[in-house]
């Protein structure tokens, strides 16, 4: 270690960091993870962290379901219940689905475009550490008088100081602000990476669809997150400094919060679902052994969805009394967003049609995505119909709908991605039998949990109620939903067991276990630090497939002798590849944010200043250290 030169002075700190950094470049030991700027390691850390938060959000869901299993239950009191559903929603959206998608961006995109890393490797590490700091900060609210309790949507004026004097909402607002910084940094990083770092020959319309959806999602992030940031700043100013943005008694407007929140919130839905659609668009062609049907239509419908997603936010506000003109206009725009979504589903069907379908676990999860997402989309059409939504708004029908989209959709697709790409980064295949058990348990558990919620909503059960009297016709459906939630928990347990067993004695995977189509399958598993010994020259969409197969007159693939084979002398070539050095400064800079935020929550401005110093130290160190040495 570096103790020999450490004397406590700033120069000593820098020298110690420099020595640690050299050690970290060895890819050995814990420091090499903490200082890593390798997109694959950052992706793995994103994935593991997000999965741990998934378990936390899942436990919160189980607690909610236990409380609601029977009428008049007292498992959780009102205050704790409100904290539970707030944290469940906030966790699943900001700490699970977004970072899990980010994990896949990190792991897959550089490999699919034939790059050695992302455009800004240290900024990438900074995104991860900032996400981790934001998540820890948010959950640390438990030790400061209670978690946030205003719902994931944090409607003012309920979240104003006058109605919510505790620290919870401050943690929520500042925590999301930190997470927003993480998302923005990663959004810019991936836009630049995808636009600038593609291998020669990979034109935009040769890019794999997952990479395309990453690009579209990144644009959504950089346009949507600032809107949330503005709303959160206004809320924090109201709470911390007595501003009156949302206070009607002083001329503020509560509805302003809803406009800002949903102008972010609806694109956010597509930030959550477009990466999932990208994963499905990779998995289906591989296991049907056919190219994606209607590639340009799938890509352009993704772009269309992204544009339209900024024009539908009022459908969260049909019952706020904006009047018939606004409701009609946003009713029509909401109806229209179903069109590009439908185009995607039809093209996925077209991909399977005429294929040679092999039912491996990744495909099962992708099929689970399609079947459940269709239900989510169609129930979405039923409450885009404005007057019908006057009944369904804020009921369990809506809860069922968006879980159909975000669990039946996003989570199923993310598991498809985990099973699909796991061998690429670990060199081992997850167990098929356990994988199939995981899938069926989760599919059944999902339906047993969420389909009864549709009925509950139509029977008039509102969301976010801590309990309900008997005699409403809700008792049975709630009990069934709770049973289903535990089936889902069981399926997640099966997945964890699968990972442990695979780690111990999993089947070795070669470079290309699924007969894949895209560039990531052309390099060894696990992927070497430099990814590609030689930067590939891309000649076609699904380039790797075309290295392996040529087509006869009928369009049927014929294997090319030794096509796509890994060349031995490449390893030798790899020794001369220059990779960026590890760095501690992204972590140090990221640590500044929670310190600043604690300072604001506790009104301790010395702490704010200390945090700012940490942040500045991190940024200056980062700017002044050579990117590689």
């Amino acid at each position: 270690m570096a103790q020999t030169t450490f004397d406590g002075s700033p120069v000593g700190v820098l020298e110690a960091l420099r020595q640690l950094r050299r050690q970290a470049a060895s890819y050995q030991g814990i420091w090499s993870w903490i200082a890593t700027v390798d997109h694959k390691r950052i992706g793995i850390m994103y994935g593991i962290t997000a999965f741990l938060f998934f378990l936390a959000g899942g436990v919160e869901a189980l607690a909610i379901r236990l409380q609601l299993a029977r009428p008049g239950a007292q498992v959780l009191d009102q205050e704790v219940y409100n904290q539970m559903f707030t944290m469940h929603g906030t966790t699943m959206i900001f700490l699970v689905v977004m970072p899990l998608s980010a994990a896949f961006f990190n792991l897959i995109v550089p490999l699919q475009i034939g790059a050695r890393d992302v455009a800004f490797p240290r900024l990438n590490a900074f995104s991860y550490w900032t996400f981790l700091m934001g998540g820890i900060f948010l959950y640390s609210s438990i030790f400061f008088g209670g978690a946030p309790n205003g719902g994931w949507f944090g409607y003012a004026p309920l979240t104003e100081k006058a109605f919510n004097p505790g620290h919870g909402i401050d943690f929520w607002a500042l925590g999301l602000q930190i997470l927003g910084i993480s998302s923005l940094a990663s959004g810019f990083n991936f836009i630049v990476t995808i636009l600038n770092m593609r291998a020669p020959g990979m034109s935009l319309l040769r890019m794999p669809v997952f990479t395309w959806m990453t690009l579209v999602t990144s644009f959504l992030i950089i346009f949507a997150m600032p809107v949330l940031a503005v709303g959160l700043f206004e809320l924090s100013f109201d709470r911390l400094f007595g501003a009156n943005f949302f206070n009607p008694l002083k001329g503020g407007t509560p509805l302003l919060w809803q406009h800002l929140f949903w102008l972010f919130g609806h694109p956010e839905v597509y930030i959550l679902i477009l990466p999932a659609m990208g994963i499905v668009s990779e998995v289906l062609p591989t296991f049907a052994r056919k190219p994606l049907f209607g590639y340009p239509f799938v890509v352009f419908s993704g772009i269309a969805i992204a544009f339209m997603s900024f024009g539908v936010w009022v459908h969260h506000m049909y019952t706020t009394g904006l009047g018939p003109v606004a409701n009609s206009a946003f009713g029509v725009s909401t109806i229209l967003i179903a069109v590009p979504t439908g185009v995607k589903i039809f093209n996925w069907l077209g991909t399977l049609w005429g294929g040679d379908i092999r039912f491996k676990t990744p495909l099962l999860f992708a099929l689970g995505f399609i079947t459940m997402f269709v239900v989510g989309g169609l129930t979405g059409v039923t409450h885009s119909m404005v007057p019908s939504d006057y009944q369904q708004q804020d009921t369990y029908y809506v809860v069922a709908h968006f879980h159909q989209v975000l669990f039946g959709g996003a989570i199923f697709a993310l598991f498809a991605g985990i099973y699909y790409w796991f061998p690429k980064f670990t060199g081992k295949l997850l167990d098929e039998r356990l994988g199939q058990l995981h899938f069926w348990l989760m599919l059944i558990g999902f339906n047993v949990t969420f389909q009864p919620m549709m009925i509950l909503g139509l029977l008039g059960m509102p969301r976010r109620i801590q309990t309900y009297p008997t005699g409403m016709g809700w008792d049975l459906w709630n009990m069934i939903a709770t049973v289903g939630a535990f089936l889902i928990a069981l399926s997640v347990l099966v997945f964890i067991i699968n990972v442990i067993i695979t780690a111990r004695r999993g089947q070795r995977a070669g470079a290309d276990p699924w007969d894949g189509r895209t560039l990531e399958w052309s390099i060894p598993s696990p992927v070497p630090p430099y990814n590609f010994a030689r930067i590939p020259l891309v000649r076609a969409r699904d380039d790797f497939w075309h290295q392996k197969y040529r087509e006869d007159e009928a369009g049927r693939p014929i294997p090319v002798v030794a096509g796509g084979a890994h060349q031995e002398h490449e390893e030798e070539h790899a020794q001369h590849i220059h990779m960026p050095s590890p760095s501690f400064f992204p972590l140090i800079a990221a640590m500044g944010f929670p310190i600043i935020a604690y300072g604001f929550v506790l009104a301790d401005y010395a702490l704010v200043a200390a945090g700012a110093v940490v942040l500045l130290f991190g940024i200056y160190g980062w700017a002044l250290e050579p990117a590689s040495e």
Binding site: L249, G331, G354, D356, V374, R433, L458, L459, G460, M472
Partner: protein, 264 residues
């Protein structure tokens, strides 16, 4: 494949249970206090109609998509000796068809939707002689005021919930109710599902909603926008009288009681 088999075994256990649950659920579910499928007034009935107008095509599409998917999965499953599949990249006519057909269907829904939005946003005119009700949301009770019924001091007839005891909203049958909805603290949402959809109560503004109750009886309702600690307790009882006369009689009696309480 053992995973699949055990899943089938579980499904065999679970399905009859689900079917039984569904049947028993349907038997008792119709007349529950907040069932949106059991409307007792024009507004709720129209909304249910619009729901079905969107739902039935949705069900048809769902069956078609699931059917096509199932067919493709069975027909094109991998079997040893299959020739490798032809590498089809797309089909332009199909793409145009499955863009335009849903577009036409969805725009077809837009007409009735906009018609109903306008109709339900139209406040009852004075000629229709609506009953005026002022709805005030507060943490965590409802307050209903009837400005057309005042006591000797000119104060309106008022019904308020107390603690967890819900406020009573008394209504005459077959008469348009013109509700003016506001809040004195945070955002709430007025919702009596069997009469119609909800309308938010937002501090600093007055929202309007009209409803009709055609069937005498007692129904439920509750706040539908999360409003803090005791959100679940913010309930109401909707009592629709047999006739305008019985409603008037109730209102007179209630006003008298209100006067006595004020005098005390």
């Amino acid at each position: 494949m053992r995973g699949l088999k055990s899943a089938v075994r579980y499904a065999r256990l679970l399905l009859p249970l689900l079917a039984a649950a569904l049947l028993s659920g349907c038997n008792v579910a119709i007349d529950t206090p907040q069932n949106t499928f059991a409307p007792v007034g024009e507004v709720a009935r129209d909304q249910r109609h619009l729901f079905f107008l969107a739902m039935w095509p949705a069900v048809v599409i769902l069956v078609l998509v699931w059917g096509a998917l199932l067919f493709a999965l069975v027909r094109y499953r991998h079997r040893p000796g299959n020739p490798p599949p032809r590498q089809v990249h797309g089909h332009q006519t199909l793409e145009i068809a499955w863009t335009l057909a849903p577009l036409a269907l969805l725009l077809g829904l837009a007409g009735p939707m906009i018609g109903m939005i306008i109709e339900q946003a139209d406040r009852p005119s004075p000629e229709e002689n609506p009953l005026q009700v002022r709805v005030i949301g507060q943490q965590w009770v409802w307050r209903f005021q009837y400005p057309q019924y005042t006591d000797s001091q000119g104060r309106p007839l008022e019904m308020v919930g107390r603690g967890t005891e819900p406020a009573e909203l008394h209504l005459p049958p077959n008469r348009k109710i013109d509700l003016a909805i506001e809040s004195i603290d945070v955002i709430h949402s007025f919702w009596a599902p069997r009469l119609g959809g909800k309308m938010d109560a937002i501090p600093g503004r007055v929202n309007h909603l009209w409803l009709v109750a055609e069937q005498p009886g007692e129904y439920g309702g509750q706040c539908a926008e999360f409003c803090g600690l005791a959100h679940a307790d913010m309930r109401m009882r909707v009592i629709v009288h047999d006739s305008q006369e019985s409603f008037d009689a109730w209102a007179r009696e209630q006003l008298a009681r209100q006067g006595q309480q004020a005098a005390r």
